[in-house]
């Protein structure tokens, strides 16, 4: 059902904060994962048990330091030790679903609180918006509700081309698109929970209006996504192009650290696996005339792509983390889209859908295999 949580002082953020407080104070959850805002305006992901601390909660700030799926993985592993609420964006929930399939997180005893995502800015842009007071968050949210964006910096590329801003798995879903936030905070919620929180159903909810806004937003994003992906595909067509794309790589491994799904305890590329004897490099140079050093730069990205392509949810955290502006996320999204299409797999959608690369079907890929 759709319930309405009243806006206090006409302010969406205050409404969200007091809604989250009801979850803790009504004993729906024992702890809540939600970003908090520091006095200096820094947005920090946090685990909150004291309802009073939610006075500084800000899950609506259009910035994303980390993909929260990683945090939920740390908080749950095999099973959450307490009833945990998690306020997450769609890309965070999708990454979390992949981590559950990879046995790195659990959704048992986890209440997913999804928020419509109007997109996020790169950290530097977000700081600029705050510093230069380009616009107020409240105004940006109201505009987002109508499917509009205020004048200012561009969203992160991953958000500009995100076609899944609406969380699908959420137990509680906070609407931003559609009615706007003028009348209050619309909450999609199970009836039992609604009763516990004292929410009454909204009878005249404008579903159509919400759908219109979403369709319009998605349409624009879809177009951009297709354009960006086909442009990159075109670049990938030529020999050596992928090496060219990663040419500036510093081997800092930030993309791996930022990736919510890259889950190895120790990355193979941080072990001695590729420490070769010196002759190895010289022989390779003899063979080819010249080799790039260190040798595992491109191999690192190809290996990560091999491991992540099927599960990549296009959150773009890798791009944001790259100090030399390599479009890592776009490259992964492009390859990922092809891999996912080849296996008919949608990452983050369905917990029951098995990971394609470890699933054997006797009758698949006949076009490239032995036909029996």
């Amino acid at each position: 059902m759709i319930g309405l949580f009243p806006l206090k002082d006409g302010d969406a953020l205050t409404a969200v904060r007091s809604f989250l407080q009801t979850l803790l104070s009504n004993d729906v959850v024992d702890a809540l994962y939600v970003p908090l805002e520091s006095a200096e305006g820094q947005i920090l992901p946090a685990l909150v048990t004291d309802p009073a601390r939610l006075e500084s909660a800000n899950p609506l700030a259009p910035v994303m330091l980390v993909n929260g799926a990683r945090a939920i993985s740390a908080l749950t592993q095999k099973k959450a030790p307490a009833r945990l609420g998690a306020v997450l964006r769609s890309c965070e929930t999708r990454a979390l679903v992949e981590l559950v399939k990879l046995q790195q997180a659990s959704l048992e005893d986890v209440l997913l609180i999804g928020v419509d995502c109007p997109g996020t800015y790169e950290l530097a842009d977000y700081q600029a918006i705050q510093k230069e007071a380009l616009f107020a968050l409240e105004d940006a949210l109201q505009a987002a509700g109508r499917g509009e964006q205020l004048e200012g910096p561009d969203l992160r590329l991953a958000c500009q081309m995100c076609t899944q801003p609406i969380p699908e798995q959420a137990d509680i879903h906070l609407h931003i698109y559609g009615e706007g936030l003028a009348g209050g905070l619309f909450v999609e919620i199970g009836e039992e929970l609604a009763e516990k929180l004292g929410l009454t159903p909204v009878l005249d909810y404008q579903v159509k209006k919400r759908q219109q806004v979403i369709e319009q937003v998605l349409g624009d994003k879809q177009k951009l996504r297709e354009a960006e992906i086909s442009a990159l595909q075109a670049r990938l067509g030529s020999n050596g192009s992928i090496a060219q794309m990663f040419a500036a790589c510093l081997r800092c491994h930030n993309c791996m650290t930022a990736c919510p799904i890259c889950y190895c305890k120790t990355c193979l590329f941080r072990t001695a696996a590729f420490d070769h004897p010196p002759e190895h490099y010289l022989n390779a140079a003899y063979r080819k005339g010249a080799i790039r050093l260190l040798g595992d730069t491109l191999l690192f990205h190809l290996t990560r792509m091999n491991h992540m392509a099927a599960s990549c949810v296009s959150c773009g955290m890798c791009s944001s983390a790259c100090p030399v502006d390599i479009p890592v996320g776009l490259i992964f999204s492009t390859i990922g889209t092809q891999v996912q299409a080849a296996f008919g797999y949608t990452p983050g959608k369905d917990l029951q859908e098995p990971l394609p690369l470890v699933t054997f079907q006797a009758n698949e890929w006949n076009e490239i295999g032995e036909v029996k």
Binding site: Q77, K78, L102, Q103, Q104, Y263, C264, K265, T266, C267, L268, T271, A273, H276, P277, P278, E279, H280, L282, N283, A284, Y286, R287, T303, H307, P354, L355, L357, V358, T359, F360, A362, K372
Partner: protein
């Protein structure tokens, strides 16, 4: 003291199989020049006793600690050479093989490049040899029981033999009754014994045997484990049961060729056209067609066999004698009847078959060489049209009964059973034996054996022979009580493992489990067959397969990559990776 590899390389001529296209002398000189190689020798047949003696003597006298043999596929002689080095006191896993026959001399013409490839393969094997680690071969207890799948005459015999030797046997039969196709036969060739007389005592003995459990209307749905310790999930009506077995005999039999497919013979269209199997039933009822005894009977051989157009090029081996036996039966019961057999060739290869064939001809059965092209209706009778290839003319023979001598085809579900046990099938679709001459009852899966027509068409005598052979082979692990398990198995480096379980998902042997407390994957060393699927699925490199470690494989690759660049060979530095870490 640091370990220093001392490698001996042995290059086999394999008669002329290798030496005809590879310059053995050059290859031997090259091998001797490789780092850590103490000695390189060549010999006509390295697998022969004198060949093996060369290796053993060198191990003792030259204190070799690693051995490389360059010869055929390890599928052929790896066990031979492992045993040879072991008898000289080396660990069998300190041996490495370079396949310069199947992967080189057999597939390339004699040329410099072929010799170069042999060198590259040997250099690669030598590079790996330097990194080989001795492994401990272990024995595990065997479940003293067997599973026999299929309750036809072969399955019954196999079950009986194994049980008589003192082991528990579970016989799983899909049908409501055992007996298989033999139960549908009236008489048998060449001694005209009623099939019932052969089958019934066997069935009674199996039924009464204290160590045989017969599961009827039952099907095997899943088989896990390996030789010595198989676990089969058997569904009987709605219930699932787990059956443990040390070895398995497959005796699932065949299907009779569907005569409807040969449209020109009008089976199912003309009531007077029947099959040899229908004949068995009719002869039990004294052979009446439309209430009359037939006066003109025509048999047609090779229906569904030796037929390229159907994709069944093989001979079904029983139809010649079945038709002869049925023809003789007609001549005996209905002396007035005229009996003609159309044949391509008469195959009377078995003991007493030729004599029987003589008897059948003597008793008045007419053999006409030719393959009928069609059967036409002529009033109440049929007309069989064929080219008599001896006379070289088209003949038409009138018939009021036509009997089609049906061949055997593999069972429809043999693909499913093959995938259940990972068995191979031959081109004809029957299960494939491990070797057509030397291992006719074995499969490529250790502990799984074949009996009867599931392996190819056979008569009862041959089915019984193979069943008794399969039973004897299946008893070997049971009698030993222990089987050796693969030592080259996977292991997990726990500091690297994130417990994601992808390795477990790709493991066909169920050998990997998540440790409930440590939250890392663990390998059951008994179940693991060392296939390496887990190692390739692991993104962290946490899984390693002994004998195929990252270091060993990289050393091989390194040499192969360098070796492929011949011009620069002189400039290449011997890599330190050849010196074991």
């Amino acid at each position: 003291m640091a370990f220093t590899p001392r490698i001996g390389v042995y290059i086999c001529h394999c008669g002329i199989n290798i030496s005809a296209s590879v310059d053995i002398e050059a290859v031997t000189a090259f091998a001797a020049s490789l780092p850590a190689v103490i000695i390189a020798r060549d010999y006509t047949y390295m697998c022969s006793d004198p060949g093996q003696a060369l290796i053993k003597e060198d191990i003792e006298q030259l204190k070799l600690n690693r051995v490389v043999v360059a010869s055929c596929s390890p599928r052929m002689h790896e066990p031979t050479f492992r045993a040879a080095v072991a008898s000289a006191g080396l660990n069998p896993y300190c041996f490495e093989m370079a396949n310069i026959r199947e992967q080189c001399s057999w597939v390339h013409p004699g040329s410099e490049a072929t010799t170069q490839k042999a060198m590259d393969l040997i250099a690669s094997a030598v590079a790996k040899a330097a990194h080989l680690q001795p492994l401990i071969t272990r024995q595990v207890e065997v479940s003293p029981s067997a599973l026999v799948i299929g309750g036809g005459i072969a399955g019954l015999q196999a079950a009986l033999d194994i049980a008589e030797a003192g082991f528990q046997v579970t016989l799983v039969e899909r049908a409501e009754q055992p007996g298989g196709h033999a139960a549908q036969l009236h008489t048998t060739f060449p001694y005209m014994q009623p099939a019932r007389e052969l089958l019934r005592p066997l069935m009674e003995r199996v039924d009464a045997h204290p160590r045989i459990e017969v599961m009827l209307s039952a099907e095997v749905e899943e088989i896990k484990g390996f030789v010595g310790n198989f676990e089969a999930s058997v569904r009987q009506s709605e219930e699932m049961r787990t059956v443990s077995a040390g070895s398995i005999v497959i005796a699932t039999g065949f299907e009779v060729f569907d005569a409807h497919i040969k449209k020109e013979f009008g089976y199912g269209l003309y009531p007077q056209v029947i099959t040899t199997l229908d004949f068995e039933l009719l002869s039990a009822q004294n052979l009446q067609v439309n209430g009359h005894s037939p006066r003109k009977v025509v048999f047609i051989q090779c229906v569904g066999s030796r037929d390229q157009s159907l994709g069944n090029p093989y001979c079904s081996r029983v139809c010649c004698m079945v038709a002869a036996r049925q023809a003789k039966w007609v001549r005996q019961r209905l002396p007035e009847a005229e009996v003609t057999i159309f044949y391509m060739d008469v195959r009377a290869f078995g003991k007493g078959f030729e004599e029987f064939y003589d008897q059948v001809r003597t008793c008045g059965v007419i053999y006409r060489r030719g393959n009928p092209s069609e059967i036409l209706r002529q009033g109440e009778h049929l007309l069989v049209r064929a080219e008599d290839t001896l006379l070289g003319e088209v003949v038409e023979v009138e018939a009021d009964l036509v009997v089609l001598a049906l061949g055997m085809v593999p069972r429809q579900d043999s693909a499913a059973l093959a995938s259940l046990l990972k068995l191979s099938r031959s081109a004809d679709g029957f299960f494939m034996e491990a070797h057509p001459k030397l291992r006719p009852v074995d499969t490529s899966v250790a502990g799984v054996f074949l009996a009867g027509c599931c392996q190819g068409p056979k008569d009862i005598a041959d089915s019984i022979s193979q069943a008794r052979g399969a039973a004897a082979a299946a008893m070997i692990p049971l009698l030993r009580g222990q089987v050796q398990v693969e030592a080259a198995t996977a292991y997990v480096e726990e500091e690297l493992c994130a417990g994601c379980g992808q390795c477990a998902q790709v493991c066909t042997y169920g050998a990997l489990r998540l440790h409930p407390v440590r939250n890392v994957m663990t390998v059951n060393q008994v179940l693991c067959q060392g296939c390496g699927a887990c190692a390739s699925a692991c993104p962290s490199g946490a899984v390693t397969v002994s004998h195929f470690t990252f270091t060993q494989t990289m050393a091989q690759l390194e040499v192969l990559l360098n070796g492929s660049n011949h011009q620069r060979k002189q400039e290449l530095l011997p890599t330190a990776s050849l010196m074991a870490k």
